[in-house]
């Protein structure tokens, strides 16, 4: 509806353009929400018994890790977790993309492998973790296997659909020009499937992020997931909450400023296929 509420009627004081942009895009509401949430949080933690165990106040949480940062442990944990995520994702991409392309090139092959990939995808990486722990113990290899397994399937699936969505005419056109199979894959199939590859990568890395956190908790390898889990064990609830907030923030930053732009860019620039 075209109405605007009266509170937005033009006032005598004309605020700056930037401020208006900020409020128009919901900045004010977000600010209000954050302040409100912090307030509710502090109130709750000030009335419940034993807040340091159940819900430490925001400031307590904020200052809880001074010591950790000071000792350099905290950056270490974040670094470890990110390292696992990045290496695991690279492994996932490195295996998933060629795999998806190979499967997608031939209709018979892709029809053949689709169901079994579906089956393995529905066993989550976390569920196979106990098996792998039996095989390799609580080692770094175990964590990486879980991450790889988790990231692999969404990536391979998307690449497969991407390859299959490239219109046949492009391939045929290349054929009539006498291009080799390698040429066709490099010049038509890969660029054509790129938007899907980007989507798959974002999805796969998102899954991998959860897998890293859970994997660290379960195998006891040092990192953010391990940290919040041990903090809970040793009754440092303030550190648990801080760790959770960090986990959320890191993911949002990663998604907003790395993965999403890459995805949007590839779709716009390379998209043979309009979506």
């Amino acid at each position: 509806m075209a109405t605007t509420s009266p509170s937005l009627a033009p006032s005598r004081v004309v605020p700056s353009r930037r401020w208006r942009r900020f409020t128009k895009e919901g900045g004010a509401e977000i600010l209000l929400l954050i302040v409100g949430l912090l307030l509710v949080w502090s109130i709750i933690s000030s009335i419940i018994p034993n807040p340091s165990r159940y819900l430490p106040a925001p400031l307590v949480v904020f200052f809880s890790s001074g010591e950790l940062i000071w000792k350099g442990l905290f950056p270490n944990y974040v670094g470890q977790t990110l390292y696992r995520l990045i290496l695991g994702s690279i492994l996932g991409l490195g295996v998933g993309i060629p795999f998806g392309v190979l499967l997608g090139l031939n209709r018979t092959v892709s029809d053949m492998f689709y169901p079994i990939m579906n089956f393995f995808q529905s066993i989550s990486g976390i569920a196979i973790l106990p098996i792998i722990v039996v095989w390799w113990g609580n080692s770094e290899k175990t964590v990486f296997t879980v991450i790889l397994y988790t990231a692999l399937f969404p990536i391979a699936f998307n690449v497969l659909s991407g390859v299959r969505s490239v219109p046949r005419i492009y391939v045929n056109a290349m054929r009539t020009l006498g291009a080799s199979n390698y040429c066709i894959v490099r010049d038509v199939i890969l660029p054509g499937a790129l938007p899907y590859i980007a989507t798959g990568a974002r999805l796969g890395i998102g899954f991998a992020w959860r897998a890293v956190i859970a994997g660290e908790m379960l195998t006891g390898r040092r990192g953010l997931g391990w940290w919040i889990f041990t903090a809970q064990d040793t009754d440092h609830t303030d550190q648990v909450i801080l760790g959770m907030l960090m986990i959320g923030c890191i993911w949002i930053l990663l998604d907003r400023y790395a993965l999403r732009p890459i995805e949007a860019d590839t779709i716009q620039r390379w998209g043979l296929v309009q979506r």
Partner: protein
């Protein structure tokens, strides 16, 4: 007898959230549409026609002026004013029949009576056999027929139509115009019809309001006394009475469009 639709001194501003300056869309508009009259509103793009219609429909609150339908002040939307929107506004998740009967459903009319009514209007707009189709299976013209039938079916006191045929092709538009004329004869509804197509206004209107460019003011009213049953494109296209009216409206609108550049 009092007019069905009365607008007095209506002025409207839109506040602009980015620049802080408001858009003056309507300026002191007064007009009346009598019972059973087909009124066409023409004016350059952006002159406030949709704004006027939204206010009449009750979708847009107004502060200055008066708007009365059948003697009652307009506050909020209601089934006494049926609206056919510029875009396709029929619900994609309802079949044709359920869309047409939607108004009756909301009013709580029992199912069997509703079915009878719906069947009647399906015939009137020529959609027989399409009752169970979903909107995405219809052409643009057919969608507007559904929209029209839905509005007619809840039997409003006045019908408000916002460029309902703007989005259909020229052939279909001619058919739809003649059909609307036929429906106007059959139902004797009071209609306010917004368009920027001068031919359409002259063909359909008993009365034609011409608006100035923004801020929209009523510039002139042209009365067209061609009997409804004579309004068929084949006959009218060379009819001097029709062409005179059309040229008169055209001249009035042209003046507005040609001065648009100084804005």
């Amino acid at each position: 007898m009092q007019a069905k639709l009365v607008v007095q001194g209506l002025t409207h501003h839109y506040p602009d959230e980015y620049t802080g300056e408001d858009v003056h869309a309507l300026d002191n508009v007064s007009l009346e549409v009598e019972d059973g009259i087909f009124a066409a509103v023409v004016g350059p793009s952006g002159c406030g026609k949709t704004t006027l219609l939204n206010i009449l429909a009750g979708l847009l609150p107004y502060r200055e002026g008066h708007v009365k339908v059948d003697g009652v002040d307009v506050h909020g939307p209601g089934p006494d004013r049926g609206v056919v929107f510029q875009e396709h506004a029929i619900l994609p998740w309802r079949s044709v029949a359920r869309n047409i009967g939607h108004g009756l459903e909301i009013q709580g009319v029992p199912a069997d009576e509703r079915q009878r009514k719906v069947a009647e209007f399906v015939e009137l707009v020529g959609l027989g056999g399409f009752e169970d189709r979903y909107p995405h299976e219809l052409s643009g013209g057919m969608k507007q027929r559904v929209s029209l039938a839905r509005t007619l079916c809840s039997n409003p006191i006045v019908m408000l139509m916002d460029e309902p045929f703007a989005a259909v092709d020229a052939q279909t538009r001619i058919t739809l115009q003649e059909e609307l004329n036929r429906i106007a004869i059959a139902t004797r509804k009071t209609i306010l019809f917004i368009t920027h197509n001068v031919d359409e206004a002259a063909f359909l209107g008993d009365k034609c309001f011409i608006f100035t460019r923004r801020p929209g003011k009523l510039k002139a009213t042209v009365k067209i006394n061609i009997p409804r049953d004579r309004r068929i494109w084949k006959d009218l296209i060379n009819d001097s009475e029709f062409t005179n009216h059309r040229d008169e409206i055209l001249t009035l609108v042209r003046e507005e469009v040609s001065t648009l550049g100084d804005d």
